[in-house]
């Protein structure tokens, strides 16, 4: 049992990255609009996050230092502060959307307006962080989030022509009437979702919450190689279900409810029930991930005591930041901003923060002083460098494309 649960950190982290509320809707929207023409971005994103999450986990296990520690150490306090402000802002926007996302999932199940659920959800998120052990939290939400796999079952049961799907995915063409800038805008949003910085903040801090050491490097790899591809698979399944069922009739996806239509059609009420559990767990997990990450990043920047491995009294500033983030997130959410729009914007902003996060990881993963004989292999460095270039290009193009395409309209 212990062995099975050992990979839940990776699964929870990846679900937060690939299938949080914004991604659930964005993946389905992209599938309905572009069919499989953007599937390659998800694959590029999976490889990138696997590469850097493995490095971040390895650094944490070997040196005991989480990612934001490294960022300040290698970039100096000024650049690190810029990254902290940017990442914290993205985190807060995402947290806002996730709390609202949990409420939206409950709305679908109960028909009670999500704004009524929202304060309850925010309180629940905070209570879990306050009272539940890190290991329990990651096991429960990592495993419950697997209910999202019902989307993959939907696609499987629909019995599509796999050959033609593969052909469409490997020979991407623009649908008639669509422009290239909008296509690339969505490409960057999907790439940003796969590589959101809070994934490595959470994953590396989680490794320290779990007291990983050199002897856990195998656990690190298992988490990374199982968790992240699984997240990517869910993302592709959402895209495929929409491409198969919603694209042919011209549905534009804007709500969580529409995302559930294919599963409901194919698997009936049981399928729907499982999927709603999946929506709930994925958004709740992502809310925990982003709320904790806001505490992790600030505390690590200043060197404060952080983490759930000590009593809250011993990490007072950390818990204050987390509590404040949840409260502010709930207040922004209650102002009835569209939670799905919020994550879509935050994805684009997170693309901008990517280089400042991944560059220090790559540098430290090569530092013998930290890593001893566990420094990067030459292949890892070559791939890491290629990805750094991709990340810089995506970061530079993100904001101009957002304005040029009116945020993908």
């Amino acid at each position: 049992m212990k062995k099975l649960f050992a990979v839940t950190l990776g699964i929870l982290t990846a679900i937060g990255g690939f299938v949080d509320i914004g991604d659930i809707v964005a993946n389905a929207a992209v599938g309905a609009r572009y069919r499989w023409a953007l599937a390659w971005v998800v694959v590029v994103g999976i490889i990138g996050i696997v590469l850097f999450a493995e490095m971040a986990g390895r650094v944490a296990a070997v040196s005991g230092r989480a990612v934001f520690d490294l960022i300040r150490e290698r970039l100096g306090p000024r650049f690190a502060l810029a990254n902290l402000i940017g990442s914290f802002f993205v985190n807060l926007l995402t947290l806002t959307a996730e709390i609202a996302g949990v409420a939206l999932a409950l709305e679908l199940a109960t028909d009670v307006n999500y704004l009524l659920w929202l304060p309850v959800c925010a309180l629940a998120v905070w209570l879990v962080i306050w009272r539940v052990k890190f290991e329990t939290l990651e096991d429960v939400f990592g495993l419950l989030g697997l209910a999202m796999m019902v989307i993959a079952v939907t696609v499987w049961r629909a019995g599509p022509d796999w050959g033609s799907i593969f052909h469409e995915a490997s020979h991407p063409t623009l649908p008639p009437g669509e422009g290239l800038p909008t296509y690339f805008y969505y490409a960057i949003a999907l790439f940003g979702a796969a590589m959101t910085p809070y994934e490595v903040f959470f994953f590396s801090s989680g490794a320290i919450e779990e007291h990983w050491t050199r002897s856990d490097l195998f656990v690190n790899r298992a988490n990374v190689y199982i968790g992240f591809p699984l997240g990517g698979l869910l993302s592709l399944a959402l895209m495929s279900a929409a491409a198969l069922f919603l694209n042919p009739v011209g549905i534009t996806v804007e709500h969580l409810g529409q995302v559930a239509l294919p599963t409901t059609l194919v698997l009936g009420r049981t399928g729907l029930a499982v999927l709603l559990v999946g929506f709930f767990a994925a958004t709740f997990g992502a809310a925990l991930e982003t709320a904790l990450s806001s505490g992790y990043t600030v505390a690590q920047y200043f060197g404060w005591q952080w983490g759930k491995f000590v009593r809250p009294l011993q990490a007072a500033r950390f818990h204050t930041v987390v509590l404040a983030a949840v409260i502010v997130g709930a207040i922004i959410g209650l102002s009835s901003v569209d939670p799905i729009k919020v994550t879509e914007y935050s994805l684009i902003f997170s693309a901008v923060a990517l280089p400042l996060t991944y560059f220090p990881i790559l540098v430290v993963a090569n530092d013998v002083g930290y890593m001893g004989d566990k420094v990067n292999s030459r292949l890892t460095n070559a791939l890491g460098t290629v990805y750094l270039v991709i990340v810089v290009v995506a970061a530079a193009a993100a904001i101009p494309l957002m304005f040029a395409t009116k945020a993908g309209a």
């Binding site: 040196s63 502060l81 007072a316 500033r317 818990h319 002083g369």
Partner: protein, 136 residues
């Protein structure tokens, strides 16, 4: 002791590193380093070399290092909050180990960088039920 000497790059291996106290608690970062430079060095021929005498830690110190208008503003705010101006200086003799983190021989509650932690513990987190219990 000379046998154990190793060459270090103070900027790379000391600055911005995590401090850990003797109870394994995270105790701030190295925000600056105090170096004593002998009189008339390097021409003073007395044979003495500059020596790292202390590690400095605390938001006030970090603000000084920032410089610019951000640093000045932050520094001024910090002086208002802590008019006694206590600077957090950790004598180098209290350093036990320098690695991916710097281990100290003293407890974090002896450090002034801990004052804000105490304030939030007493006024915010300590007021919430369950703060003293480990999570379940």
């Amino acid at each position: 002791m000379m046998a154990a000497a190793r060459v270090m790059d103070a900027a790379l291996e000391l600055l911005d590193r995590q401090l850990i106290d003797c109870d394994d608690r995270l105790a701030g970062n190295v925000d600056d380093v105090e170096i004593v430079i002998p009189d008339r060095w390097p021409d003073g021929a007395s044979g003495e070399l500059p020596v790292v005498t202390a590690l400095l830690s605390g938001p006030g110190v970090l603000a000084e290092r920032f410089g610019g208008s951000l640093g000045r503003g932050w520094s001024a705010l910090h002086r208002r909050l802590h008019p006694d101006g206590a600077l957090i200086s950790i004598p180098i003799g209290q350093v036990r180990d320098i690695g991916s983190a710097i281990r100290l021989g003293l407890r974090s509650d002896q450090l002034a960088s801990n004052r804000m932690e105490v304030w939030f513990r007493d006024h915010v987190v300590g007021k919430i039920p369950g703060a003293g219990h480990a999570a379940e």
